[in-house]
Symmetry: D2
Subunit: 139 residues, 4 copies
């Protein structure tokens, strides 16, 4: 399944006094892109939380290549690179929509926890979600 | 009861490309100051949430008088000006700690809701909290 | 000129532990909508800053009517209600895109300052921008 | 020189609907701790920017070990582990102030750029700052 990249402008309030987007906001861009990706493959995060599947971060990394300025249109590509039922890893590329240049790359690791924040595998408890994620792994 | 003002530096990530603190962050400063005020008068917000008392905003206002720059130390005065068991109104003054000049003023209105987000009065259900808040109203 | 409302989903990172969008973020939504409004009427904020016109907030107000939850699609209407060359006032209505119900209203006041953060009127210095703003006032 | 860890409570607005601090905020905690560290060793970030030394992020990483809840007091240890005049790397440990347990670790890489955002080495242009940073490297 081919997932469209996520489009997004840099907001004014996301800039800092360097006149560029503050580095912490890239993790928010990654999250927005990941949530749209999950939605697109039929694993809507809102619906999963209703089923009692919470997906916290285990780690997060961003590499800042070109600075992003206010109102710049970005195109964020999200790729699920690993998933085994208990953990998953996403990779991201933020490009400038006009030039296709890479502004940043990154990855995040996530686990699955229940409402009591206990780690779990969704392999046997949620086979449909498990399968949809499995089918969308790309290396 | 005399409550000490809340002290707080402006963080780098709170500035925007005007090289001043972004106006939305003042509402976060107000919240920090209000939470410390509530804690100081024995109405800890964390404890109240454990009892099933949630305190959302009904409105919020800020007036920006002098711009706040990075690393500036602020002193925030919080005053509970109205409370009737169902609603409360706070007023805030943000001053520069060094000169005592007023940087901003504001107010927020809050109601009390239960875990199902239904409005409630805490007058009869939580008389201790009710009394502590009543005693700390200043006009 | 009829300006389309600004469409925007509530992001995960904008929620707080009440499981609703944190009240400070509404001012960021207002800003996004205002910047799109300015762009649509030919007064692009990025271009204005390049000309040396900075537009800080003088005040900001929000009234929270219905809580906004994660991934909810909002439609934000922006109206320029006052403008005299030195100051302007915007009003906002945040509606749920599906039901058209009002989630919040608000207003912000802005002045114009130069690169040294000195207040100025743009009436004589930037007549084109002045006229475009004048033409788009609605009461 | 022994630098005290940076103390900081988790704010309400930093939580998300998982009822924990949103993972993007850890990078803001790292920044606050780094800025205090720089200040403590005599390399104040505000002063450096006045001299025309801007310190953007080259990358940033966080590992989330234990979730941080609202109002929890954290103690953040910052260590400068690499510095060569052109780049520097910091490592961070976020601990709970009461139990000393590790909540998160992370690192960030930074370069030095001038006001035109051109990379530079501060070795010869700012020998005092260079020396102070050199003296505070820990491995």
């Amino acid at each position: 399944m081919e997932i469209s990249p996520y489009l997004r402008r840099a907001n004014y309030y996301e800039t800092d006094q360097m006149s560029i987007v503050h580095h912490s906001n890239y993790f928010r861009y990654f999250e927005e892109a990941r949530i749209e990706f999950m939605h697109a493959i039929g694993c809507d995060v809102k619906d999963m939380e209703k089923l009692g599947i919470i997906i916290p971060n285990v780690d997060a990394y961003a590499k800042y290549i070109k600075t992003i300025v206010f109102y710049k249109l970005m195109q964020i590509e999200t790729k699920l690179v690993k998933f085994n039922g208990a953990k998953m890893v996403f990779e991201y590329i933020i490009k400038f929509a006009d030039t296709n240049e890479v502004a940043a790359t990154g990855h995040t690791t996530h686990c699955f926890v229940n409402n009591e924040h206990k780690p779990m595998s969704i392999k046997h408890t949620f086979p449909d979600i498990y399968n949809r994620l499995k089918e969308n792994i790309k290396n």
